[in-house]
Structures are given as C-alpha cells and as structure tokens.
C-alpha cells in the first residue's frame, strides 16, 4: 500500500475518492491512467468528443446515452472525480457492508444501479420513462431488425406489464418492481482491473 499511495498522490482527490466510491488505490490508479489516455489533449477533463473517440463505444447502440450519463446536467466536461463517481456504480455490491444511517447510499448499491439504468432511458429526467423514451431506446437497440409496428407492440407490451398506476409511463418504482427478480448485481457489475 505504501508505494501505491505515494503514486496515489498524483491522482486528484485520491484519498477522498477512495473513501467515497470504495475503489481501492490500485483500481483508482488504473482508472486515472485510463482517464489520462482518453484525455488526449491533456486538459484534465474529458469532453464528449473524447468519449466518442473510443471506437467500440461509438458502435454501441446506446453509446451516446452512456456517454451522456457521465455528464452532469448542464456540464460540458467531465473531470476525474465525476468519471470515477459514475464508474463507481459498476462495482460489485458488497453484501456485508454495514453503514451508519447518516452515510449516503453507496454508489454501487442495487438501488443506485437501478437508478443509473433508469436514467439511461429517462433522458428528460422527469422521473418517468414515457412511451416515446422507451421507443427511442428500443429503436436504438433493435434498429433495422424490426418494423415500426413491432416496436410499437413491444413498447406497448412492456408498458402494459410494468405500468401499475396506468399512467402509460414507467416510474422508477415500477421499473424497480419489474426487475425485482433479476440479479442486478450480476448484470450491472464490472470486475475492475487493477
């Protein structure tokens, strides 16, 4: 730990980030390396062009949404701490963590993960996934494979299944409920390399 913490000093807000996000020093270092790699012009922050420069991400059907999730509303750049904070959502959940009541919910809790996924759909942040938003995501993911009618039907069916208060949109609670049997930790975790 000694040597890594000394190089951890190069990482801005290293210690605080470690505590906040639960990443280990080694993880954080590696993420910092990656951040610097993405930040080609060495500005200290990332812009959306830097994200789009990652080739696989541009091929990803929901790539632009993922990129958008890193930017806080109204901001044009992502600094390292925001970068890490977003990535903290993808750490595997630790089961044994007991937290004092005052501590904020850790980023990688099931609820936070679900909220992250929810925000991918709900771009206008109104707290509901409307049919349009669902259709957009479906269109992006299914693309050329389906006809418009099928998309409509699928969206209809999805809303029919999940919508409990019949407002023709999926709220976060309904979203969470529809996924209650899914092991979110399994589906939304990355084993970060060191």
């Amino acid at each position: 730990m000694g040597s890594s913490s000394s190089s951890l000093n190069n990482v801005p807000d290293g210690q605080q980030l470690m505590q906040e996000t639960g990443f280990s020093a080694a993880h954080l270092l590696r993420l910092y390396e990656r951040f610097k790699f993405l930040d080609k012009d060495n500005r200290g922050h990332l812009r959306s062009e830097d994200f789009e420069a990652v080739p696989e991400l541009s091929e990803n059907p929901i790539g632009d949404r993922i990129v958008g999730a890193f930017f806080l509303p109204g901001q044009e750049t992502v600094d390292f701490s925001s970068f890490v904070r977003v990535l903290a959502h993808f750490r595997p959940t630790e089961k044994n963590r007991t937290r004092a009541g005052a501590q904020p919910e850790p980023a990688n809790s099931r609820n936070r993960k679900l909220k992250f996924a929810f925000r991918l759909y709900d771009r206008d942040r109104d707290g509901k996934i409307s049919r349009t938003e669902l259709l957009q995501v479906l269109r992006e993911m299914l693309g050329m494979q389906v006809t418009e009618e099928q998309l409509q039907s699928i969206a209809d069916r999805a809303i029919q299944e999940a919508d409990l208060d019949k407002d023709d949109a999926i709220s976060f609670d309904e979203f969470r409920k529809s996924l209650e049997k899914v092991n979110i930790d399994h589906k939304m975790s990355i084993r970060f390399l060191e």
Binding site: R34, F37, L38, F51, V54, E56, N60, P61, I62, G63, I66, L87, F90, P92, A117, L120, Y121, S130, R131, T132, L134, V137, L138, R139, M141, L142, G143, M144, V146, T147, E148, E149, Q150, Q152, S153, I154, A155, D156, R157, A158, Q160, E161, A162, D163, F175, S178, L179, K181, V182, N183, I184, D185, H186, K187, M188, S189, I190, R191, F192, L193
Partner: protein, 796 residues
C-alpha cells in the same frame, strides 16, 4: 376438468389395468425363447400358459392336422421381438400414467424411484418363474440405443445462456470433480481392502480405481428430475446438469485408462501423460465432432423447406451419427451429441417451419422419456435377476466414501471457484450440489461392461446397484424436504417478461460500453465477438433467411404466440362455455362473434382478416388525406389536433395492452400523450405490406412524393395467401393480438369501408413472417431511413 373426480374408482381401474399388463408381460417374458435357459422347459411352460394367456386367442393350430385350409393360424415367433418390445414399453408407460393418478405420490417420491420399484416387482415376478428379462441393459443396447435419446434431449433443451455464462464452473466441476471423486474413492476403498477381516484382499489398486471411476459418474437423469420438480435456482441446475453431462469425457478416459492398466502389471509415468493427452483428445474431439455435425445439419436444414415431411428427420439422424462416429473413435460421444444438438438447434429452428419445430421438440422429448422410463424400469428388473455377490464391508464403505468424497469435493472445489464467479455458491447451494449427486443408469451400464476376467466383477456390479438404489431412493426422496427446509434459492424462471428482456439487454449494452470505456475485456467481449462472427459469416451460410432477430423480438413473438394459443386452447377445450364468456374473462371489454367452437378458428381468422381490411382501408384514407398536405413539413403531423378528426371517427381510449397501431389509425395521429407518436402512423404506413391489388393502386398512386423505394416497399410482401399453411400458427396470433381490440369496432367502422371501396386482401402485419428475402435488402435500409427521417424531423 373434473373427469377424474372419483379417485377411488380410477385407482381400482388402474390397479386392474396394471395387474393385467403385468400379467401380460410376464407371459411375454415367458414366451421369450431368446434366453439362455433351456428351451424345453420354455416350450413346456409356453404350452401350459397358453390357455391362460389372454392375449392369444384360443387356438391350437398344431392340432389341426390335415389337408384342409387352416382357417386360423398363429405364428408368434415371427412377431415376437417387436411384440415384446412394444409390450415392455407399454408397461413402463402405463406405470408412468399410473403414478400420476395420485398427484401426491409423485411429489414425495420421485418418478425414478417409482419406476425402479415397479421394475423390482416385475423382476421379482420374473425371477420367481425363473425367467430372464430381455437383455436390455447390456452394454451395447444401453449405450447405442437407450442413452442417445436422453442425451439428445438434454442437449437440445439445454438453456444456453446460463450454460455459457457458467461454462467454466461446469467444466471445473465435471473434470476436476470427477477426478477427485474417482481417485479419492478408489484410494480409500483400496485402503479398506487391506484389512484382512473383510475378505477383500484380492482386489488390487487398479481395480479399485476402475470401480471408483464407474461410481463417481453423477447421472443428470436422476438428479435433474428431482431438481426440476423442486425448482432450485438456475445456477445449481445448470451446474449439476453440465457436470452430469460432461463428466462423461473424464469417465471415458479414466475408465479406459484404468481398464487398460488393470491388465498391466505396472504403471509407467508415461501412461499418466498419455492419459492426460487422451483426455484432451476425448473431450475436445467430442466437441469438434459435434460442432461439425451440427453445422452440417444446420446447413442441410437450409434446403429442406420443400421436403417438410422429413424435415425433423435430419435433426435426429445427424445427432445420432455424431454419437455413433464418436463411439467409433472412442471419444466422448455424449459431448459430441450435446454439442451437435446445441449448435444445430439455434440454426435449425430458424430454418424449419413451425410445425417441424414442434415435431422435433416433441419427438425428442418423447424418445427421451421413453428411454429414461425403460432404463429405470429395467434397473429394477435386472436388480433381481442378476447374480450378486454381497460383501457388507465393501458395499457399506462404498456408500460412505461416495457420499463423503462428493461432499468434501464440492466444498473444496467451490472454495476455489467461487472467487471467480459473480454469483457465488452459498453453503446451501453447495449442500444442494453435493446431495444432488445421484447416480443412475450410466454407472450401472458401465459396471456391466466390465470385463469378465476382472475378478469380483459381481461384487462390483452389486455395489454399483446398491449405490444407485441408495442414492436414488434415499437421497432422491429426502432431497425435496431438505431443499425446502433449508430454503435453497429457488429459480425465478418466469422472468420472461418483455420488460426484463429489454432492460437486461440495455444493461448488457451498458456494461459493454463501460467496459470498452475502461479499456477492459469482459465476458461480453467474447459474446460480442462471437455474435459478430455469427452474424457476418455463420448466419449467411447456414440460414435460409438471414434476417437476424433480436432476442427481444423473438421473446415478444413467443409471448404473443403463447397468449394466443392459450386463448384458443381454453375456448377449444370446453365446448359448453360460451366463447364470449371465456373471452371476456381473459380480455375484459371484448365482444366476440359467437359461433360454434368448431368454427372458432375460422371466426377468429375472419375477424382478423376483417380487421386487417379495415385497417388497410383506414390506412388508405390516411394515406390519401395527409399526403395532400405533404407540401408542408412533416411537422404538420406532430401538431395535428384531434379535433377535426374526432367527429368523423370516435376517439377511442385505448385499453391496456392493445396495439398502438389501431389506436393511431383511429385517432389519426391525434395523440393526447405525445406529439411524436403521430409520426408513427406515417412510418407504419410505409411498412404495412399491402398487396398491389385493386385497392392498393389508389394509395400507391398518391405516393409520388414517397421515394420510389417506398413503393417498392409496398409492393413487396406476400404474393401468396397471407396465411401460408405452415406459418399459420405464428401469423394468426400476430393478427389476433394486434387486432383483438377492434372487433367490437367492426360494426362501427363498416361504413368507412365504403370510403376505401376496395378490399385488398389482408396484408401480413409482421414482416419476418413473410419469407421474402429478396425484398428485405431493399426494405431494411428504407426502414432505417424513414425512421430516422421521421425522428429527425421530430426533433427539429
């Protein structure tokens, strides 16, 4: 369905039935001249029993000497073998029926136990009349005829996604676990043999190891029946499943190695290396062979659409070939057939018609069930009739060590593999895995294949039988209450909601993207790579129609199909219930045309046709109407108020779950919810396949502003009957689900049909059903463009 309302009577019937059949089969067995006992006594007994045999009519042809034409003859020996074969199968199947009379029996006692029990009884009867059962559990018959259907069934219905997610774990348990078990049990038994008091001195190490290999083969057949009934979570299920299937590779190698070595006086270290090399040859060879046959089968199925009658045959022939060829080379035939089935299934099910698909699945299941039933049944029979050598010490220690080593093995292996897993095995899971290590018929058949020159062979056979019976009965019966008591995580298999599928897909994309962002490889990397390879190369070669279908869409189709079929089933099944009542119960607010149940199908189809026609009429109107305003930008539609259209066509508040299209069409783009939706009828329009008949030209002619490709788009589609015979089950529910809401509107809209005048034949609503690959290349890019076009214009 209270036809079985009086269990007492039915049981009585059942009992009578079964005794009848039992008696039948005993006489059948007795009439079997293929047994080694002297034939004189056979004939004698045959002659004696002949009058009692209810099957054969009372005729004594041998008494009819003379030159008159025999009016009635009987030649039993000619039909004997198939006849007995059929009777045995019938007997086993009757017992299966009999078990389900009392639901409660099958809950507490697994079917395998019951079958073995019946087998024991029949075996007892046969033994008491000093007859031999048919030689079914000999090595060849078992391995060449009875085992392949079961393994094919396992491979065909293997849940591929959980399997590939857990493939490392499965292989780990299969290979290392079996090795651990064999060597552990072998060594411990050898240690026991050293004690003089047990009279086991003459069993050397190799023989012990050989025996241990035989009995360490966990049999998925037995275990999974029970686990499926209990419904344990997927992880355990797939691990036991995979372990049982894949330990065959290890068993084959170890078995041949130890058998070979048992002849030799000493072991070289070279042999150990050769053993490892052989293991790879066996395992990997099996997989490669299976892949080869799987791809050839998939390729063949590409061309079979004209010979749909024999389409299912190819599946069976190729998998059986894979099995036999693997047996030829003494590589793992089980792995070959499984790999073949997995590979084949994916492509074949896309190539063949719905009917063939159903047939294949049904036949696979049927063969497997028959085979399995017979195996357990004969296990019971043969238990009584073989020669046994009983040695308390050896057998008890076998049971003990088998249990012990499995438990310890699972524990140790899990500790090693857990850190690499995202869903880790809890202690309860491990207990389930260990306790679920039942042995079955493979173990038994392997014991029978032991060379006769191995001394104490009978002891080994007896010990294997004892182990099998113990595990199946004791563990099998007790596992259910134990699992329920310790509350192992149960499966949540009904995750098949569209929501879950969509969100899971999104999450997968998300994780993929984040991993790419972080510069990491995850397992999605390989999945993606494979998917790209699959899409680019494999699908083009192996599929007749290479439109790829996302899992979301196929799941959606499957669900709708199920819905529709359930709907039809409930109505067809009960003639007395008025269809309207049933329909209302399942879909409130629906009115249906009443009619005979017999004509329910037709009625539904006709309704669908009508609705389709109405839909197209409306589309005609819609086409004509907005296109006159096409000079304005597309934004016009997004702002269209519901006002002036409402008067003409009542805005119907769409009920839950109905398709959007009808709503759109009826509200004509007026959307109370969001403006973008109105755009959708425009794009819907483009994708509706309308036949270029008299009705259509009016719409087509109004399309000068559509790109010519749009017209092309409209012209494509079905040229034949829209409900192609073999597509009917899939196409029908499509329409049914999309239009069920509109049947009550049928009357209301009939006057609108006048506006469109012509009635074009109903178009196929769902593109993928229309097997028209030529049009798709033109179609899809258009879809993309039009969709994007409308999107872009909406966003501005």
């Amino acid at each position: 369905m209270e036809r079985f309302a009086l269990p007492a009577i039915w049981t009585k019937n059942g009992v009578i039935c079964m005794t009848f059949v039992l008696f039948l089969c005993c006489t059948t067995g007795i009439c079997n001249p293929n047994k080694p006992t002297p034939t004189d006594s056979t004939n004698l007994e045959t002659a004696i029993l002949l009058p009692d045999d209810p099957e054969d009519p009372q005729a004594y042809p041998e008494e009819e000497k003379g030159d008159n034409l025999p009016v009635f003859t009987m030649d039993y020996t000619r039909i004997q073998i198939p006849f007995e074969f059929t009777l045995w199968i019938l007997l086993a199947s009757f017992s299966k029926i009999g078990f389900h009379v009392y639901q409660k029996i099958t809950i507490w006692i697994p079917e395998s136990c019951l079958l073995i029990g019946i087998g024991l009884i029949v075996g007892g009867i046969m033994y008491s009349v000093k007859e031999e059962p048919p030689a079914v559990l000999t090595s060849n018959v078992f391995f060449l005829y009875m085992l392949p259907p079961i393994v094919l069934d396992s491979g065909y219905f293997m849940p591929t996604r959980p399997f590939f997610e857990n493939v490392g774990t499965v292989v780990w348990y299969a290979v290392v676990g079996t090795l651990w078990n064999s060597i552990g049990i072998g060594l411990s038994l050898f240690a026991i043999c050293q004690f003089e008091v047990f009279d086991l001195q003459n069993i050397n190490l190799q023989e012990n190891l050989l025996f241990a290999t035989i009995i360490s083969a966990v049999d998925p057949v037995a275990a999974l029946n029970i686990f499926d009934d209990v419904g344990v979570n997927e992880q355990i299920h797939i691990v036991i499943f995979g372990e049982g299937l894949f330990n065959d590779a290890v068993t084959v190698v170890l078995y041949s190695m130890f058998a070979f070595v048992a002849d030799m006086p000493a072991i070289d270290s070279v042999d150990v290396f050769l053993g490892v090399a052989r293991f790879f040859v066996v395992g990997v060879g099996g997989v490669l062979l299976g892949l080869l046959f799987g791809f050839v089968a998939a390729f063949t199925s590409r061309f079979t659409n004209k010979v749909w009658e024999i389409e299912p045959l190819f599946v069976f022939m190729y998998s059986y070939l894979a099995y036999l060829v693997a047996e030829l080379f003494a590589i793992s035939s089980i792995m070959a057939i499984i790999t073949c089935a997995i590979t084949m299934k994916y492509y074949v099910e896309e190539n063949v018609s719905q009917r063939s698909c159903t047939t294949i699945r049904h036949v696979v299941k049927m063969l497997a069930t028959v085979s399995e039933t017979l195996i357990f049944f004969f296990l019971g029979v043969v238990t009584i009739t073989t020669e046994h050598e009983w040695n308390w010490a050896y057998i008890l220690f076998t049971l003990l060590f088998a249990f012990l080593w499995r438990g310890v093995g699972i524990l140790v292996l899990t500790q090693i593999v857990n850190p690499f897993r995202t869903i880790q095995f809890t202690v309860k899971d491990q207990f389930g895995l260990a306790y679920g290590g039942l042995r079955g018929a493979i173990c038994f058949a392997l014991a029978f294949t032991l060379e006769d020159n191995i001394n104490r062979k009978n002891l080994f056979v007896t010990a294997s039988i004892a182990l099998i019976l113990f595990t199946v009965f004791v563990q099998g019966i007790s596992i259910r209450p134990i699992v329920e008591y310790i509350k192992i995580r149960r499966t949540n298999k009904d995750l098949n909601t569209i929501n879950v599928e969509i969100h899971t897909r999104t999450m997968e994309h998300l994780i993929c993207g984040v991993e790419d962002l972080c510069g990491q490889w995850g397992h999605y990397y390989w999945k993606d790579k494979f998917k790209k390879f699959n899409d680019r190369i494999l699908r083009r070669i192996l599929l007749r129609d290479t439109r790829s279908e996302s899992s979301i869409v196929s799941l959606y189709k499957k669900l709708e199909l199920q819905n529709a079929i359930e709907l039809l089933d409930t109505t067809m099944g009960d003639i007395s219930a008025a269809p309207s009542v049933l329909m209302e119960a399942s879909r409130p607010k629906k009115k249906f045309l009443t009619g005979d149940i017999r004509k329910m199908h037709d009625i539904l189809s006709k309704n669908m046709y009508k609705i389709r026609q109405r839909v197209t009429i409306i589309l005609h109107i819609y086409i004509i109407f907005p296109l006159q305003n096409v000079s304005k930008s597309l934004k016009y539609y997004s702002l269209q108020p519901g006002g002036n259209l409402d008067s003409a066509f009542p805005l119907r508040r769409r009920s839950r779950g109905e398709l959007l299209k009808e709503d759109h069409l009826q509200t004509f783009g007026a959307s109370p919810r969001s403006s973008s939706r109105s755009l959708i009828p425009m794009t819907t329009l483009k994708t509706i396949k309308e036949q270029g008949s008299s009705g259509a030209p009016s719409s087509l002619s109004v399309h000068p502003l559509e790109p010519s490709s749009g017209e092309h788009h409209l012209d494509e589609g079905f040229s034949g009957p829209s409900l192609r015979g073999r597509k009917a089950p899939v196409a029908t529910p499509r329409r049914h689900s999309s239009n069920r809401d509109d049947e009550d509107e049928d009357n209301g809209f009939s006057e609108n049909q006048a506006a469109g005048a012509e009635q074009p034949p109903p178009p196929q609503g769902w593109v993928p059903e229309v097997r028209d690959p030529g049009a798709n290349e033109a179609g899809n890019p258009l879809l993309r463009q039009s969709a994007h076009g409308s999107q872009r214009s909406w966003r501005t």
